[in-house]
């Protein structure tokens, strides 16, 4: 009995299901072994010729020693809630609702899953951990007892003063005279603590002995300028196509070209929602990549631009009759 059905476009693809034509000798295992040997040799050669990059990480200690004014400015911003982390929003805090795409607020909806209190975690708790410093204890007490408005006024004044600060001969920070309350004492102590290396440890292990979560030290350092300065010199900033790059002149992650491309052009280059916008675009394009067999036009391009003529030129030049080697879906 003959049945007629409407096939999804293009219906002719069913004829490619089975090959009825000529075969040639082939050893799949030999091919795999040769390929593996060749690739192994090539990788070892590349490793010998070029090695791999290993740029040493920054520490809070280094940051405090090489950029003390930047360190103290960042710590002040953490204290008065104006730093990047303090104003980030989820998953660290509720300071903002984060990025959104139209009515989709994924960042807010998924909530605060990694709570970070910038003032407490980066400044107040480490200062309380410093033993035997009565001046610091007194400064902390004075700060804690002051009303919130006073705390903000001190921090704001001190932040403005730091913009004109300079270093003293002993490595301390000299600011113009002003009303900063206990902040200079607190920040001087925090700076010395950081320069000794103690702050690295406290930020990492403040809750537990064993720790593998570097969220706090990394967020704190990222709020300052040290990481960004190093990144800029290595051409790794977002607006330098940095996502694709590697330190030095090593090839980087070339496959991220389309992902980083969007960040270089408007409106994404200036948008506060750039990250979710780009993620949405790339999610759509990735879905498109997966579904190419079902997308009209995209799946037809290989037929219109016949690069396959080059790939299969031996087949097309052969003597076999057209269509004779193809079996339709029915037996």
């Amino acid at each position: 009995m003959t049945a007629i059905s409407i096939r999804p476009h293009p219906p002719g693809d069913e004829r490619y299901r089975h090959w009825q034509g000529a075969y040639r000798r082939y050893d799949i295992l030999k091919e795999a072994v040769i390929a593996l040997a060749g690739v192994t040799a090539l990788v070892i050669l590349l490793a010998i010729l070029f090695s791999s990059p290993d740029v040493r990480p920054s520490t809070v200690r280094q940051w405090a020693r090489t950029m003390p004014i930047d360190f103290v400015s960042t710590a002040t911003a953490e204290l008065d809630g104006t730093s990047g982390t303090a104003t980030y929003g989820p998953p660290y805090n509720h300071a903002s609702s984060g990025q959104h795409l139209w009515f989709i607020h994924l960042q807010k909806w998924l909530g605060v899953s990694h709570p970070v209190n910038a003032a407490r975690d980066f400044v107040l708790a480490p200062l309380r951990a410093i033993p035997g410093q009565p001046a610091v204890k007194a400064a902390l007490t004075a700060y804690a007892r002051a009303p919130a408005r006073q705390q903000r006024a001190w921090a704001s004044a001190y932040a403005k003063a730091l913009a004109k600060a300079r270093l003293s001969g002993g490595g301390g920070i000299l600011t113009p005279p002003g009303s900063y309350g206990p902040l200079p004492t607190m920040m001087e102590a925090l700076l010395r603590f950081a320069q000794s290396g103690g702050l690295d440890g406290v930020l990492l292990t403040s809750q537990h002995f064993y720790q593998t979560d570097y969220t706090k030290p990394l967020l704190f350092m990222a709020d300052g300028s040290l990481l960004a300065d190093r990144a800029q010199s290595q051409h790794l900033l977002g607006n330098q196509w940095g996502m694709m790059n590697e330190t030095g002149s090593y090839p980087g992650q070339v496959w991220l070209w389309l992902y980083t491309f969007w960040y270089q052009i408007r409106p994404f280059s200036t948008s506060p929602n750039a990250d979710i916008d780009v993620m949405a675009i790339m999610a759509l394009l990735s879905l498109g990549l997966i579904l190419i067999p079902f997308l009209p036009i995209v799946r037809d391009i290989p037929r219109w631009i016949p690069i396959h003529r080059l790939i299969w030129r031996a087949h097309y030049q052969s003597a076999s009759p057209p269509g004779g080697s193809y079996r339709s879906a029915g037996r």
Binding site: W19, Q20, G21, A22, Y23, R24, R25, I48, L49, F50, S51, P53, V55, S233, Q234, H235, Q240, W241, M244, N245, E246, T247, G248, S249, Y250, P251, G252, V254, W257, Q264, I265, I307, L310, I311, A314, S318, S320, S325
Partner: protein, 68 residues
């Protein structure tokens, strides 16, 4: 300081690279496009390898004439 037990040439293979890629990269700029030379070379290599793969003659291209 410990002594390296491996022969010098083998140890050298594992340590310093023949070509030091830790120097600053060269960047190619064109309007808003700003790519490192290394990345451009990788992309060009991909295109060249693809072109060679489809153009280069393949040995034993004759059909053996056996069919199912």
């Amino acid at each position: 300081m410990g002594r390296c037990a491996l022969p010098y040439t083998v140890a050298a293979m594992f340590t310093a690279a023949v070509f030091d890629l830790n120097q600053h990269a060269t960047y190619l700029h064109w309007h808003f496009i700003d790519l490192s030379l290394s990345n451009v070379l990788v992309i060009v290599a991909m295109v060249v390898v693809f072109a060679l793969a489809i153009l280069a003659p393949f040995p034993g291209g004759r059909q053996r004439g056996e069919s199912q």
